[in-house]
Amino acid sequence: MTIPTLLGVTLLIFAIMQFLPMNIRAMMYITDIKELGNLPKLIVEHGLDQPVYVQYIRWLQGVVMDHTLGVDRYNQPVYDAIVSRLPASVELAIYSIPLIVIIGIVFGSAAATHKDKAFDHATRLLAIIGTSLPSFWEGIVLLAVFFAALGWFPPQRWSPSVNLYVSDPGSNWKWCTHLITVDGLLNGRPDITLDGLRHLVLPVTVITLLNIALIMRVMRSSMLESLGKEYVTAARARGLTEREVVVKHARRNALIPVITLSGLLAAGLLTGVVITETVFDLKGIGAYAAESAAVPDIPIILAYALLSGIVFVLANLIVDILYAYVDPRIRLE
């Protein structure tokens, strides 16, 4: 099931690429500005004049074996460009995902058990507002308040002093995970970790506010459905306290669809958040894609789309496995 979709993903990107004029496609492989004058040679060299299916095979081979995705506007291979910017996005995702999932589940569950009361309506309204505000606007307003006015949470990944330190080859700094908050501790510099965390507060807030609504809503309706089931009444009939019934029976069953949704959400966040990264000037792959889009730097965008697609398909696979683990009814299949 996953393999055809994976292939389909690559096929779609390839198909989109084919709509570009031949010259532009050839330009994607330029490593040196001098080569601009010799496009026909490039066309033959990379087989762009061959029949479509041959091109597809060659392209796919290049992608999978050599990570050839073209060259960006700085003449850097796209693959390297993306990999070097990955950690920033991943770090953002690592902090956002647990927050979104936990708060979403807790609030969604509480909204269901207090259905139609003030709490339920309040959280619903908050969730709707959360999805109505443009993420870039939220980011801007938060920056204006918390940075320009209060100076608490700055944009970008780290302070200039930290930046100097970590990029100085003469310092003792060693990159291990490439996540500033983790490596700060690993290098014995908790102050750097704190600095990183400070810079993360605002972007994580924006991402969380944006995505919480979905989890809350799904948890709420899943919980309501669960609470209406007969095994809940049966559990009460056995004398279990309301709390036990909710926690041990209703919630566990209600969590099942939420877990799969969270998995997909996590995948989406891991591939970078284009808008938020741009607003806060975090040099992640999302921001890079955004910059590239404006130019436009076509190899980067296409490569980014390809990466996102692949990550999603894999995430779906993982989520399906997780689902089987959590729900015994699925296991037999």
Partner: protein, 367 residues
């Protein structure tokens, strides 16, 4: 005359829905004597299931109990369950009164094993005894301390914290062993073959009959005084039906429970019950010993019901009209719209439940 275990007096139950107020129970009077099997019979929608649920004060919103008393004879004192708080009621449910539901597989939590289900009942109601039992076995010093604490101070904060820490809560195994013994015992009582394997199965892996046995195991785990069986065999094959009926009869004998058997199947009533109560549109219209009820039905509805049982060679008779909507029920006696003996007074007043012969009660103006 054996004592009354449960006495429902003038129970009024209403459901507040979008379409209106459903007068589900209109002053239901019912009493259950210790040791008997009482059948509660009636058409779908007459209120028998909600009566069962009300007995445990388990009616979900938008339903509200708005009148009457539910008197339970617990430890030789009579308590009105409707006047008690949730804490008291949750102790009663499962231990003094328990219920077996209509569709056994949907009454079980899909993510919990059979073992988990039955263990849960024991841990909820018999934890103290089980802890004592653990204490009577050889324990390490640390374990003994923990279990002593569980016995004397079950709600302590220390226990709550420690029980959640993965490595430290290994002490729980001893308790789980005790519980497991009980679980296996129950499964064997239910005549479930291959109990070890079944214990680790999930509800969707069980057949209907097996699931119903598990439900009964959970219901009888703490030897309740009263077992309310809500159409336990309706969703099962006829062959399995007989097995389960026999099982219930056997279990009643072994556990000494009183059984309230809710059904719409008169045949089952004849087979297994001592007394029967007939319900119609939210009222109990007739109560009598089973033999008496079948030989000499007094209420027009009961008579019509018995006559409508198809028999080979006889003309097929049904009761005219349909069950009235309970949002705007008929005034007076609710059966008067379909009753061939209806009189003027039947449309105006509701008849009281009168004892017409010994142990035979009817709610009808004919008497």
């Amino acid at each position: 005359m054996s004592e009354k275990l449960l006495n429902i007096e003038d129970l009024v139950l209403r459901f507040y829905t979008y379409e209106g107020i459903v007068e589900a129970l209109d002053g239901v009077n019912l009493d259950i004597r210790r040791g008997e099997t009482l059948g509660l019979v009636g058409e779908t929608g007459c209120g028998k299931t909600v009566t069962g649920l009300s007995t445990m004060v388990l009616v979900p919103p938008p339903g509200r109990i708005e009148g009457g008393r539910i008197l339970l004879n617990k430890n030789d004192t009579v308590v009105d369950l409707l006047s008690k708080d949730e804490a008291f009621l949750s102790d009663v449910r499962g231990a003094d009164i328990s219920m077996a539901f209509q569709d056994p597989r949907s009454a079980l939590d899909p993510v919990c094993t059979v073992r988990a289900h039955i263990s849960e009942v024991f841990l909820r109601h018999r934890k103290q005894e089980l802890v004592e039992r653990v204490l009577s076995r050889p324990l390490s010093r640390l374990e003994r301390e923990v279990y002593e604490m569980m016995s004397k101070n079950p709600d302590s904060l220390v226990l709550k914290v420690v029980s959640r820490i993965p490595l430290l809560n290994r002490y729980k195994h001893k308790l789980q062993d005790e519980v497991n013994n009980e679980v296996m015992r129950m499964l064997k009582e239910m005549q479930i073959p291959d109990a070890d394997r079944v214990a680790d199965m999930y509800p969707h892996e069980l057949s209907g009959g097996m699931a119903q046995r598990v439900v009964l195991a959970m219901a009888l785990a703490c030897s309740p005084e009263l077992l309310i069986a809500d159409e336990p065999t309706t969703n099962l094959d006829v062959t399995i039906q007989l097995q389960i009926l026999n099982l219930i009869r056997e279990l009643k004998r072994k556990f000494g429970s009183t059984v309230e058997y809710i059904t719409h199947d008169l045949g089952v009533i004849a087979e297994i019950c001592d007394r029967v109560a007939v319900m119609y549109a939210g009222n109990v219209v007739e109560v009598a010993d089973v033999m008496e009820a079948f030989k000499n039905p007094l209420h027009p509805y009961t008579r019509a019901l018995l006559e409508s049982i198809p028999r080979p060679g006889r003309e097929f008779k049904s009761i005219e009209g349909t069950v009235p909507s309970l949002i705007d029920p008929p005034k007076g006696c609710r059966f008067h719209t379909r009753c061939s003996y209806a009189m003027e007074i039947c449309t105006k007043e509701k008849p009281p439940l009168k004892e017409v012969a010994k142990g035979h009660y009817v709610q009808c103006f004919l008497y």
